[in-house]
Symmetry: C2
Subunit: 355 residues, 2 copies
DNA sequence: ATGAAAGCGCTAACAC
DNA sequence: GTGTTAGCGCTTTCAT
């Protein structure tokens, strides 16, 4: 092992005690400002890097991370949870504990209420999937108290988060546009389904999609579509409108899991494999539709990774003071086609086989 | 922190000393067989799990992993190295060191020679990308000595490796077939390029590809192609033959980075964007061809992950005795289209932005 | 074959 | 504000 620089070496070099070095290095109170400077300088000079194992061993008490995010029955959220749990299992050895604090995905207000009532002192770090821009105030308040807060799945760029981790929604839409254009060979009419009013990322996907169709496949017409909320009827109406046009080829880009499920049902009920359906997210029902050919491709946000990586990175910040170079961290959107739906089970990339 | 079971607790419960518990738990010599049994039983009963931090701290000396794999100038190999290096940086804190032992990718004999001469005693674990089935003997010899050996990128299923980690080549071919079928709308003629004689995985990709074309797109003809080795001329000849047919649409599946580069050049030189070219791996040149539309899609093996994960998992085995549930671990093949080539730079998924 | 004890590098509690 | 010291859970060496 390369000779490791220890706190004791710094103490000797500065002609002081290891206790004072500890105070300086860890920003504790009760230390003379210039002593701190001197020690920090020496540590830098010697290339000191804390031994996190000794640290965790000595601390002998867990750090707690609060994971605040919505859940419901859909696989998307349970995959996030599984990812966090995997990280938790790995991190428990390093004295990190995680609390799961869930609210309803469709009720931003309940998340805000929860944040208002939460005892922040009980936690050392926070990971939040914010449902509303009003969460910013809480993020900033926590950050002010010196504790790290990570955002995932949905960003609040104006907040003082340590980092945001998620997929690039615009690129998701762009890839969908590319697949659509390739399969439709640059001609026909398409429509985009989504719950645009309620869910911000859907709009970003829509924009990315339109950009690509516009730039690379200008002969494909984009039919304006009205919001689908969570209603099959509205989906049918939009598809009816699309099919009523005199185009030769038809395409549908569905920007979220719920409308993807509805679109799959609709295309299957109509028995129209000639329609190029491209969707988002994976569930067992959606995967089945892809296997049978009703849906041609899916864009996968890898929710498991979103949970796992957020937890891991936050732990790294806690354990070794790591900070990201970029405050926005992305998970690459994966493309799922018929031949790799087998990798997905319960809407999740099968982690018993895949790393 | 949940009350952790320590060696001291086991020692007390067994009315023996912590030193003896250490001997039992870590399979050291100099301990009575039944004492060992008793201690192991108690440890199991109490749910003992070693504290790897205390262990590493106390050991105060590094474990060494030998990484034996081929390299040349191509991005594919440098990405593997970058992945290993990332793992190394993370693992150095846990007393793990890595040695990089490289040979020429096209010279299996030199790798064998190296294995013959290597001092196995200098290492605690081994990660090997084997170039020949003759490596099996070394894998087994090392395994017999009780040290873990992981294989990556290329498997030797008959060997006594701890695990194999890589992509599913058959699925890579299947996905390529799917993309080809979708874009060609199920009709036309395709050929498959590769270096089949020398490189085993290429053949697996070929088979997967043919399966899908056969099962789902039976109206696409597959033209037999002769081996391309590393020669542009041979690629041109194969493509000439393909184009000489009376098919309306043409497709090319290229099974490795070198023939993908050559195929991109050929398609561009011919100015034939109508040819559906699907390739494997990413380099700057290949990415450029995708951006410009000469190549429609790439299948990416994520060499970075292959290196990174192999190192991480081997370390986990060393530090905490982890063993995989399945001895074959896969990295999911990624699909790269024009809209996500920007994520790749120097043939690698940009890790400064992407997790 | 077994036990005792000295650390590994750090934190936290206490003394000055 | 600073120094001292007792552990954290384990490995390793030295007695027995």
């Amino acid at each position: 092992m390369a000779k490791r620089v220890t706190m004791e070496m710094i103490a000797r070099a500065c002609d002081t005690s290891i206790g004072t070095v500890d105070r300086a290095l860890n920003n504790r109170k009760g230390i003379n400002a210039e002593t701190r400077q001197r020690i920090m300088g020496k540590a830098e000079e010697l290339g000191y890097r804390p031994n996190i194992m000794a640290s965790a061993l000595s601390r002998n008490t867990d750090a707690r991370i609060a994971f605040i995010y919505p859940t419901n029955a859909h696989a998307f959220f349970s995959c996030i949870t599984k990812g966090i749990q995997k990280a938790e299992a790995e991190l428990s050895r390093y004295g990190i504990e995680i609390d799961y604090i869930n609210t309803d995905p469709h009720d931003p207000a309940s998340q805000l209420k929860l944040l208002e009532e939460l005892d922040f002192d009980g936690y050392d770090a926070f990971a939040i999937n914010p449902l509303s821009s009003k969460c910013s105030a809480f993020v900033d308040a926590i950050a002010d108290s010196g504790k790290p807060v990570a955002l995932f799945n949905n960003d609040l760029p104006a907040s003082r988060r340590l980092f945001y981790l998620g997929t690039d929604n615009s690129q998701c839409g762009r890839i969908a546009g590319e697949i659509m254009g390739l399969i439709m060979q640059g001609e026909g009419a398409v429509t985009v389904l989504g719950n645009f009013v309620h869910i911000m990322p859907f709009y970003e996907r829509y924009e990315g999609f339109c950009e690509v169709i516009h730039d690379y496949y200008p002969n494909i017409d984009i039919f304006p579509s009205s919001d689908c909320r969570y209603e099959q009827d509205l989906v049918e109406k939009n598809i009816d409108k699309l099919l009523a046009s005199d185009a030769k080829k038809f395409g549908i880009f569905s920007t979220g899991y719920s409308c993807t499920e509805m679109a799959c049902r609709s295309v299957e009920a109509r028995g129209r494999k000639d329609i190029t359906l491209v969707g988002c997210d994976v569930s067992d029902e959606i995967a089945e539709a892809v296997k049978k050919g009703w849906c041609k491709a899916l864009l996968y946000q890898d929710p498991f990774q979103q949970g796992y990586q957020t937890a891991q990175l936050l732990a790294r910040n806690l354990l070794e003071g790591w900070v990201p170079e970029h405050s926005t961290l992305s998970i690459e959107t994966r493309t799922v086609l018929r031949q790799n739906t087998v990798n997905y089970s319960g809407g999740i990339l099968r982690r018993e086989l895949f790393i």
